[in-house]
Symmetry: C2
Subunit: 242 residues, 2 copies
C-alpha cells in the first residue's frame, strides 16, 4: 500500500467449526477459512489444537498465516482473563495491519465457547461477525438417536459445575437436558438423576469432540470418572435409554 494512504483494518470472523467430525463443518466456515489471511486458534498447555485439527483439510495454502494462542485449561478466572487479553491483542495486531482473520471455535462460538471472551474484547472496536456451528449437544443426540425436544418441551443446557442443589432445580424445570463438562462431577450428577427417577433415562457420551465418542449407560461407569468433556443427555419423554 502506498505511504500516506489510509490503511483499512481487516475483518474478524469468529467461526464455529462443529463438534469434532471434520465433515460437520459448514460450507461457510470452509470458505472463510480457505480465504482468510490469518487463522487464529487456541492451543492447550500440552499442545493440543482441537479446533485446528477439525479444519486441517482447509489450511496450508501458501501465504496463509496461522496464529495459535495458549489458553489455560485451569478454571481459575485470572489466568484465563490474561490469556484472552493476549489472544485478543494478537488478533487485533493482524486486523490493524489490514489482514482478515478467522478465529476458530469448537462447536458454536456463542454456546460456552472461549471465543465469547475474545468477541467481548474486540466487537466494539473492529468489524466482527460470528458464524454459527453445529454444537456438540445435538451431535451427541444424533449419535445416540435421542430426540431432544419437540412441540411444547423445554430443553436446557446445564453445566455440571453447578452445585448440586442448583443443578437439581434447573433439571426440574425442563423436559430434557444436556449436562455438559461432566468429568469429576459424575457422581454428584448420577446421584441427582437416581433420586429423581431419571437414571434409566440418561446416557453419557464420553469425550464427544474426539474421533470416537462413546455412549455409555451411567451404570457402566462403575466408579471410574469420565473425561472432562463428557455430556449426559437426559429426557423425561419416550422410552428409557438403557
Amino acid at each position: 500500500m502506498a505511504g500516506g494512504e489510509a490503511m483499512t483494518t481487516g475483518k474478524l470472523h469468529i467461526v464455529g467449526v462443529g463438534p469434532g467430525d471434520p465433515e460437520l463443518l459448514t460450507l461457510k466456515a470452509a470458505r472463510l477459512i480457505e480465504s482468510a489471511d490469518v487463522t487464529a486458534y487456541p492451543e492447550t498447555e500440552n499442545g493440543r489444537r482441537r479446533a485446528r485439527d477439525i479444519v486441517a483439510d482447509h489450511l496450508g495454502r501458501a501465504h496463509q498465516i496461522e496464529r495459535p494462542f495458549r489458553l489455560p485449561m485451569a478454571s481459575d478466572l485470572a489466568p484465563a482473563q490474561a490469556a484472552y487479553d493476549r489472544a485478543s491483542a494478537l488478533i487485533a495486531a493482524d486486523l490493524d495491519a489490514g489482514r482478515n482473520v478467522v478465529l476458530l471455535c469448537e462447536g458454536d462460538p456463542f454456546l460456552y465457547g472461549s471465543a465469547i471472551h475474545v468477541h467481548a474484547r474486540l466487537a466494539g472496536r473492529y468489524d466482527v461477525a460470528v458464524v454459527p456451528g453445529v454444537t456438540s449437544v445435538t451431535a451427541c443426540a444424533a449419535e445416540i438417536g435421542l430426540a431432544l425436544a419437540s412441540r411444547m418441551d423445554v430443553f436446557s443446557i446445564i453445566p455440571a459445575t453447578l452445585d448440586g442443589g442448583a443443578l437439581e432445580d434447573r433439571l426440574a424445570a425442563c423436559d430434557a437436558a444436556a449436562i455438559i463438562k461432566v468429568g469429576r462431577h459424575f457422581e454428584k450428577i448420577a446421584g441427582i438423576l437416581k433420586r429423581n427417577g431419571l437414571a434409566d433415562r440418561a446416557m453419557l457420551i464420553a469425550a464427544p469432540a474426539d474421533d470416537a465418542p462413546r455412549a455409555l449407560p451411567l451404570s457402566e461407569l462403575n466408579g471410574t470418572l469420565p473425561p472432562y468433556f463428557s455430556t449426559i443427555l437426559v429426557s423425561r419423554k419416550g422410552a428409557p435409554l438403557q
Copy 2:
C-alpha cells in the same frame, strides 16, 4: 437385481440443513444429499418447501428422485400424526426398494424438528442415522452478536406456546433463553419479560429462517404481531441489548 436374490433395504439419513442460509449446510449434509437416490422433504399446504430451498444447489442430478410430502401447519395433533404416517410410509417404500434416502430437516433434526416423528416410526425397522445441523437458535445469536452462555450459565429453549405461568417459571430457572415460535404469543411474552425486568435484555428475531431475518427491540413492534417462526433471545448477563 437378479430375480431371487435378496434385496438389500436402503439406508435413511435424517439430515439437518441448518437455519436457512444455504452456506450453513454442513459438508456432510451436502455430500449425503448429492449422493442419495431419493431426497424427501416436507411441503406446506401452500406449496412452500423451505428445507428443499436451502439445499437446492445440491439437487437436480439425473436419476435423483425427489419425494415431497405434505405436512399440515395446523397445531392439531391428529392430522399431523396422519401426515407423519403417510410420510413414513412413502420413505419406507423407497427403503424397501433398496434406495438410500435423505430426509431434509430445517435446523437440527432432534431440536423441535418434524423429522422426530418420522424417526420414531422408522428407526426400529430400518438403518437410520441422524446428521446434526446448525440450529436457528445459535444462528439468531450470531446475527445479533449475543453470547448465549458461558462458564456456569444455564441456557434454555422455551416454546412460546407454553402457558404464561409455566413460561415464567422456566425463564426464572435459566440465565439466558431462546423463546421460539413467538407469533401470536408475543404480547404474553412481552408482558412476562417486562414484569421480570428483562424487556431491555431481549431481542426479537423475526422469521430467522428467511433470507433476511430482522432483529427488533420488543418496543418497536407497536402492537403488530411477528411471524410464527420468530425467536426472542433474552440474557440476564452482559450489557442491555437495546
